[in-house]
């Protein structure tokens, strides 16, 4: 801070240039006014110090750190929200982004859980009278019927991802995490279909998992594109 605070810039010439000096600190000084101010500054140490101090203050202010609120604040907000007697209504739609991660995780987890439960149940069914070769061909045909409709689209979108503007970390992390969960669920569904190609629920789960993956991939590609 100023070495010459006790000799403030207050002479008549300093006063004439006060507005220009303030504008210079704001970076809004008209270039036509810069010359006269520079001349004054060259001969006035007090104004030079004033300029340096005001710029320092502005710079410090711009780099102030955010202040952490007390931890209890959220609990108080939550308590007051709980006391609100309002239906959730359209709020839910607009909070889609915030709840998306949890929703996708829950959906994928539910999908995986269902398959984990259902899969072994299929395996516990009475053995099919099909021969091993026939069962294998039936499984391959079932998988081809389900996966074939999505495979090309997924490959096409996967090739586009990574070529656009990088997605900000929070969104990317949510999408990547959910993609991994959906992939796990797809793998489980696939195993269940291979075990019993006739199992309608397993085929539906696989179909739903692939559709979900395609949606996630398209979302990622769209976000990269919009980032530009």
């Amino acid at each position: 801070m100023s070495r010459n605070y006790h000799a403030p810039a207050s002479g008549p010439a300093c006063e004439r240039h006060a507005d220009a000096l303030a504008a210079l600190v704001d970076d809004t000084l008209d270039p036509r006014d810069r010359g006269p101010l520079d001349e004054h500054l060259a001969g006035c140490a007090a104004c030079r110090d004033l300029l340096a101090d005001l710029r320092e203050i502005r710079s410090l202010a711009a780099t102030l750190e955010p202040i952490e609120p007390p931890a209890r604040a959220w609990h108080d907000v939550r308590r007051r929200i709980a006391a609100e007697d309002q239906p959730l209504g359209p709020r839910v739609e607009w909070l889609g982004w915030w709840s998306f991660g949890r929703a996708a995780v829950a959906a994928a987890a539910a999908m995986a859980a269902a398959i984990l439960v259902i899969g072994p149940a299929y395996l516990a069914l009475p053995p099919s009278s099909d021969t091993p070769d026939h069962a294998s061909r039936a499984a391959a045909a079932a998988l081809e019927a389900i996966e074939g409709s999505h495979a090309a689209a997924i490959r096409e979108v996967e090739q586009r991802i990574g070529t656009g503007v990088p997605i900000p970390a929070p969104a990317r992390d949510v999408l990547t995490r959910n993609l991994a969960l959906v992939d796990d669920a797809i793998a489980e569904s696939r195993s269940a279909v291979e075990a019993d190609p006739r199992a309608a629920i397993a085929r539906e789960r696989l179909q739903a998992g692939l559709a979900r993956k395609l949606t996630l991939l398209r979302t990622m590609a769209a976000l990269e594109l919009e980032g530009g």
């Binding site: 605070y5 202010a61 609120p69 839910v92 889609g96 982004w97």
Partner: protein, 177 residues
């Protein structure tokens, strides 16, 4: 990428777990909102009250949120308006809407080292309401003078003048012994 684009892209995937979604919104923006409230109010107790009121207001108004801006921008605007109302009503209660630039309190700062952010935070709290609000919006939050003027309901020239007064006052408050 703007946050609004993220919101638009993912909104269809919305779930019904409203409270946890709102908590995520709170966790993301609480620090910035609290900082704004703290610097406007000049003390922690009022800032905490403001933080709660702002998020409660946000919760009530989310249904009216339109896609013209990002969610964070919408929330910040709501916070600025609430903080302004608070400071103005406080000033009205104190019968002092604006304060003249009178003598400064003795500087809090000791020593001759560089000015720290804490020094500046303390000095900002000592500014008169009118120039503190203009200073916080312009120099801390990064608003342009015309935006500051619009928010405060003053002329752009007045915003420039208030911010400059604030810097001069801060300079006096932060002077070395």
């Amino acid at each position: 990428m703007a946050e609004t684009q993220v919101v638009h892209a993912l909104a269809p995937a919305a779930a019904s777990d409203d409270e946890s979604a709102f908590e995520a919104l709170y966790r993301t923006h609480a620090k910035r909102i609290y900082s704004l409230a703290y610097r406007f109010a000049g003390n922690a107790a009022e800032a905490e009250d403001l933080l709660q009121e702002i998020f409660l207001q946000a919760y009530r108004k989310l249904g009216g949120f339109r896609r013209e801006s990002a969610l964070g921008t919408w929330l910040h605007r709501l916070a600025v308006n609430r903080c302004l109302d608070h400071v103005r009503s406080r000033a009205a209660r104190q019968d002092a809407v604006t304060e003249p630039l009178g003598p400064d309190h003795p500087p809090d700062r000791a020593g001759t080292g560089p000015i720290t952010h804490l020094d500046l935070e303390r000095a900002i709290a000592q500014l008169p309401d009118a120039c503190r609000m203009a200073f916080v919006l312009h120099d801390v939050e990064g608003y342009e003078h015309r935006e500051v003027a619009k928010r405060l309901g003053i002329a752009t020239g007045t915003s420039k003048s208030q911010v400059h007064k604030a810097r001069l006052r801060l300079r006096r408050l932060l002077r070395r012994p």
